[in-house]
């Protein structure tokens, strides 16, 4: 007999070792998330997947599932926090959806629509973040980075290259690449790398592909992210993720 917890009143079965997020997605229940990706080890930094568990707030992607938990996700109090977090991510970087190649395929933008983010909320910081166009086939536009570390994790765990890393602290934290010059062209990056396909926003872009699919026909133009995220989620219990890299990952 498998154990269960409740999520917004529904019984969710889980297996030992699953987090609340993994069990919820496997059972066909959407919990909004951004830095969580089923193929990688949970990270727990964006906090968009915050839920209320037995009356206290917790990060559902890293919280181990336990029998009898009372998890509340789709409630006003929690969604208000998620909206503020998405506003914070927009305010922190330089996000101009109308001119962004990723518009329509962007998880941040899709979450903004789905959660009902109607205003800027905060005074935007407009940081100065130069792009790295050094590579002939890949553009890095750091203006849009939300520091989810998916590329860091993919490059270390799957590609085994550790091309990406984080530097700085606090609001000056930023993505860097692993080369003496600090430029992407001098790293081991390759067009086939997993790291190039996981960016939820428009930082890592393959050149000359930006508008191959017209705006209006893109992924989140079809249906909201809450309807699509479940399609990505593995219905089987998550297989152990790739090789953890103790050198590069934060907070693991």
């Amino acid at each position: 007999m498998s154990d269960t917890f409740t999520l917004d009143g529904d019984e969710i079965p889980f297996e030992s070792g699953q987090t609340v997020m993994q069990a919820a997605l496997a059972a066909g229940h959407y919990v909004p998330h951004l830095c969580y990706h089923p193929e990688f080890r949970p990270h727990g930094s964006c906090k968009v997947c915050t839920v209320k568990v037995n009356g206290r707030f917790a990060t559902s992607c890293t919280l181990p599932a336990q029998a009898g938990l009372n998890v509340e996700s789709n409630i006003d109090e929690v969604n208000a926090i998620r909206r503020t977090l998405v506003q914070m991510l927009f305010a922190e970087g330089n996000h101009f959806c109308p001119t962004c190649e990723k518009s329509g395929n962007c998880v941040l933008q899709a979450l903004g629509y789905d959660l009902g983010v109607m205003t800027a909320g905060f005074r935007h910081l407009f940081p100065d973040r130069p792009v790295d166009a050094s590579h002939p086939d890949i553009l890095l536009d750091f203006n849009r980075c939300i520091l989810c570390e998916l590329c860091v994790r993919a490059s270390c765990e799957v590609d085994g290259k550790c091309v990406f890393a984080l530097a700085g602290r606090g609001i000056t934290k930023h993505l860097i690449v692993n080369s003496e010059s600090g430029r992407l062209v001098d790293t081991e990056v390759d067009l086939a790398d997993k790291a190039l396909s996981v960016c939820p926003v428009g930082v890592i872009l393959v050149k000359r592909k930006g508008f191959a699919v017209p705006i209006g026909e893109r992924r989140y133009d079809q249906s909201p992210i809450s309807a699509q995220a479940l399609a990505d989620a593995p219905r089987e219990p998550a297989a152990p993720a790739g090789r953890p890299c103790s050198s590069c990952e934060e907070g693991s």
Partner: protein
């Protein structure tokens, strides 16, 4: 970069493992005034880590710099107590003398002058660090003196010793500061407990003494005393020490570790500085008692970088203890009782006081708090069982090993056993260290330190609580006012808005940046406080401060974010006029009405449905 660095000599002092990265970087920084170009790649190759990780770690810690920071790097401590003593004027004066701008290295690469978070000298501020070495009691004369030494390019080693003299300022001693123990007393007492205590379940313990049931009785008997004492952690959270030790002792692992958290970064706290300066043997004794109880063979003292001046004296104390058999192999002649202590130096990161971030830092990484569970007692240093305790906790444990749990429990209150060291600073005649039994009212402390016309006291630093005069009968105790030790006094000449603004700047500077709410939220809070300070605030801004608090409380990754809005909320609650008199308008009233601006468009399109209207936000 003004000096060449002998990288091989530094690398030779450390195991060539990734865990050595932070210590190597710190020593390179100290030798060369920065991490010179190219040296980062050499370090990466030698320690077998990606270059980007070297740069990532170097960029995390305030005292490390990949850019040249001058032959002399002068950092002014910027706690509110330093500000109250005039640090900003002194900094301007220093910049004038050295002909440079704050935060910018001089053109000739000679010097830079900047601010840093509280350096733990609040009882003798304003304080500075010069290339990491503390100089307290700055005044106009000392600014001139330091500037002249810098301009004359005198090596730091030749500067007058009295500049670097740090006082203990112990004003009230109780059982801990008046312990009277000699090195080894607590260990001998712990070992002797095995002889007269019969503990039945010794064989169930999973320590390295498993095979030796007779010898295992000392550790268990000592653990029983620690548990009976009701000792709770002195770092602020107040977890019961005995349970922590027991959980660590019983956890499965390849080895166990004892870590002393001497990363005393909470602004206004400086008691650990005094314990490490004058009672280092007691600290190490407590760590060794812990090692004996849990079965650890390696210990670390994580010393904050601001206390660089304590490093060599502490290493000498360790050497003395090794020489007399209180550290090393077979301590006190007990076969298998092997334990030694290594000192790791921090490099300017408040968040490393959080125990899991401290462990990450010990492993040579960026100091990011880990996801918990699992907790350090089972998965700590190198994922092995690890006990992390505060400096003062280890001192108390050593006392309990000698005097017993009942003796200790009789001191203080029912829920807060023992005594607490307070670091008293701010507006009072006698700042310094005061040791009180738990349960002492705030009013008593204020009387003893000579505080007059007191408006407010910040208990336990910015993460703690700000109380006003009608609360001075509250007591220092876990059940009323829990504290890690900071006790900052503000008299009625002070502006509590500026106090809160200083703390908001502190949190924004020290957020590790891992999670969204703290990384962005602390910066937003600082922006709003600065906006109000400029006279541009409205009631909307006060509401937004409340909203930030809710999100940071709910969603932050660690205690830094959870508590980052406390100073603002506490002062808003108790000293609201200090905010409101700065506001441009009490209610937000935009001159521009969005809905009426759409009236023409509605007329033109013939629409008047709900979607053709915009409701004003306030």
């Amino acid at each position: 970069m003004s000096e060449q660095v002998d990288l091989n000599a530094i690398l030779d002092r450390h195991p060539r493992r990734p865990e050595s990265l932070l210590q190597v970087l710190r020593e390179v920084q100290e030798a060369a005034g920065g991490i010179p170009p190219g040296v980062d790649a050499e370090i990466a190759a030698a320690l077998n880590v990606p270059l980007a990780r070297v740069r990532g770690v170097a960029g995390f810690y305030s005292f490390l710099s990949l850019e040249p920071s001058g032959h002399y790097r002068v950092l002014f401590s910027d706690n509110i107590t330093d500000r109250m003593l005039g640090n900003q004027e002194l900094m301007q004066a220093m910049c004038g003398k050295l002909w440079l701008e704050p935060g910018r290295t001089s053109e000739d690469g000679l010097a830079s002058v900047d601010f840093t978070s509280c350096t733990g000298m609040c009882d003798q501020g304003p304080a500075i660090l010069v290339n990491g070495w503390a100089i307290p009691r700055m005044d106009g004369g000392r600014v001139d003196q330091v500037a002249e030494l810098v301009l004359a390019q005198r090596p730091l080693a030749e500067w007058p010793r009295e500049l670097f003299l740090v006082e203990d300022n112990v004003r009230r001693a109780d059982v801990l500061l008046g312990h009277g123990l000699q090195p080894g007393d607590a260990l001998r007492a712990a070992v002797a407990r095995g002889a007269d205590h019969q503990v039945e379940d010794a064989a169930n313990s999973r320590s390295w003494r498993e095979a030796n049931v007779a010898a295992a009785q000392g550790p268990l008997a000592t653990l029983e005393e620690i548990k009976r004492s009701n000792l709770r952690g002195r770092g602020g959270a107040g977890f019961t020490t005995g349970f922590k030790w027991e959980a660590c002792r019983n956890a499965q692992g390849k080895g166990r570790y004892v870590v002393c958290n001497a990363d005393e970064g909470e602004p206004g706290t400086f008691k650990d500085r005094v314990l490490l300066n004058s009672h280092a043997d007691l600290v190490f004794e407590g760590m060794t008692v812990c090692a004996y109880v849990i079965g650890a063979s390696q210990g670390f003292l994580y010393l904050r970088g601001e206390y660089r001046h304590l490093l060599e004296p502490l290493r000498e104390t360790l050497a003395r203890r090794r020489a007399v058999g209180l550290l090393g192999k077979s301590i006190l002649g007990q076969a298998g009782f092997d334990f030694d202590i290594e000192i790791h130096l921090g490099a300017g990161a408040y968040v490393c006081g959080e125990e899991s971030a401290l462990i990450e830092s010990l492993e040579g990484k960026r100091g990011i708090p880990r996801n918990r569970p699992p907790y350090p007692v089972s998965h700590g240093y190198l994922q092995q069982p690890t006990t992390v305790n505060n400096v003062e906790t280890f001192c108390a444990a050593a006392l309990i090993a000698v005097q017993g749990g009942d003796w200790y429990r009789a001191i203080g209150t029912a829920k807060s056993a023992g005594t607490k060291l307070l670091s008293v600073s701010g507006d009072c005649a006698r700042p310094g260290i005061y040791e009180y039994p738990f349960g002492t009212p705030v009013r008593q402390v204020l009387e003893d330190c000579g505080a007059e016309r007191t408006l407010a006291v910040q208990i336990s630093g910015p993460s703690g609580i700000c109380i006003s005069a009608d609360e001075f009968d509250r007591r220092i105790a876990f059940e009323d006012l829990p504290t890690a030790g900071a006790f900052m006094v503000f008299d009625n000449s002070r502006d509590m808005f500026e106090v809160a603004r200083n703390f908001a700047q502190f949190f924004a500077h020290e957020s590790c940046g891992f999670c969204t709410p703290c990384r962005v939220g602390t910066s937003m809070q600082k922006e709003i406080m600065d906006k109000i300070a400029r006279g541009q605030g409205t009631k909307y801004d006060l509401d937004q401060l409340g909203q930030l608090d809710r999100v940071l409380q709910a969603a932050s990754h660690c205690g830094l974010g959870h508590g980052a809005c406390n100073p603002v909320l506490d002062t808003l609650k108790r000293f609201r006029p200090a905010y409101e008199r700065r506001l441009k308008a009490l209610t937000f009233q935009p001159a521009f009405d969005l809905d009426s601006a759409l009236a023409e468009a509605r007329r033109m399109t013939g629409r008047d449905d709900a979607g053709a209207h915009i409701r004003s936000e306030s």
